[in-house]
């Protein structure tokens, strides 16, 4: 997580410099255009399909109990967000998801404003994870995660002002894994 924060800071500084250099630089929105995955869903053994636009996020926030510290933390995390979009599929055979859909998404992530923070690949388990950040004028306004294994494919797109520090506070709660940062010392 520390490495991710360092890269986030670098991305923010870089995007601020670019904005000053070229005032006509278009402001990227941080939202990806996701393909229609209906055919994929029909082949998957498990699907997670979440679309939380600003209205639904606001509605969800209304059902969080501010008197509970954990739910209050969640409220803070989503306070600046404009949308959360998740598409995740599990299959019962390798590479059942089409490569051109993945490429369609990755192409958007090469456009102005998006910067790749991390890309890791595990040869043994054929796992790939890439994390991208969209920033403009010193502010992060989008996060994208693309994770793939032979039988799993996940895209997460978070739109809006993301505070990774606050997201970090949610570790170990609501099924979110706890990253043992201090255990590395």
């Amino acid at each position: 997580m520390r490495i991710l924060f360092q890269k986030l800071l670098t991305a923010l500084l870089l995007s601020t410099a670019l904005a000053w250099a070229d005032p006509t630089w278009a402001t990227p929105t941080g939202q990806l255009q996701l393909p229609n995955f209906d055919s994929l869903a029909s082949k998957a053994v498990q699907t997670v399909n979440i679309t939380l636009d600003p209205n639904l996020l606001s509605l969800a926030a209304g059902f969080l109990d501010s008197s509970k510290p954990d739910e209050s933390d969640v409220k803070q995390v989503i306070a600046g967000l404009k949308g959360i979009y998740v598409r995740s599929f599990d299959f019962d055979k390798d590479y059942a998801y089409p490569a051109n859909d993945v490429e369609f998404i990755k192409k958007q992530l090469t456009q102005q404003g998006w910067q790749q923070l991390v890309q890791v690949h595990n040869v043994k388990e054929q796992t790939n994870v890439a994390i991208y950040l969209c920033a403009s004028q010193g502010n992060a306004n989008g996060l994208a995660i693309i994770a793939s294994k032979p039988r799993e494919f996940t895209i997460v797109n978070i739109v809006g002002s993301i505070d990774l520090q606050k997201l970090h506070r949610l570790e170990g709660k609501f099924g979110i894994p706890k990253m043992q940062v201090d255990a590395q010392k």
């Binding site: 979440i50 939380l52 209304g62 796992t127």
Partner: protein, 124 residues
């Protein structure tokens, strides 16, 4: 042959029941995570309609009563629907955060070399 060993293994590994106390603990934890707002779902008001004694206004009153009842019912249904929508949005929000956290965790572990050396490549 492995048949005897496999047979013995299957027997040795018969599932164990954790007991009713476990079930109750799970349900208690599930209940803790439901928002207080779920209680509002059960808290709906009632209206009482009295027909006037004079027959002249009986039909008008009945019609008014029906309209009001239908309106209140519709409002109540809308409120239930909205509550269900909100609870579902809340559930999806937690699930989205969980998926996000899981994938950040995978990336974090891979970046920090928690797999044996040589098993992965890094491009950044």
């Amino acid at each position: 042959m492995n048949d005897e060993l496999e047979k013995s293994l299957r027997f040795a590994l018969r599932p164990v029941d954790p007991g009713e106390k476990f079930t109750q603990s799970v349900l208690a934890r599930v209940a803790e995570e439901q928002p207080a707002a779920a209680a509002r779902q059960r808290d709906h008001g009632r209206s009482y309609f009295g027909l006037p004694a004079r027959p002249t206004f009986r039909w008008a009153s009945a019609t008014l009563g029906i309209v009001l009842t239908a309106g209140l019912f519709a409002a109540h249904q809308w409120r239930i629907h909205r509550t269900q929508q909100g609870l579902e949005a809340r559930r999806q929000l937690f699930q989205a955060l969980q998926v996000t956290g899981e994938n950040l965790d995978i990336a974090y572990r891979m970046v920090n070399n928690q797999e044996p050396a040589g098993n992965f490549s890094r491009t950044r």
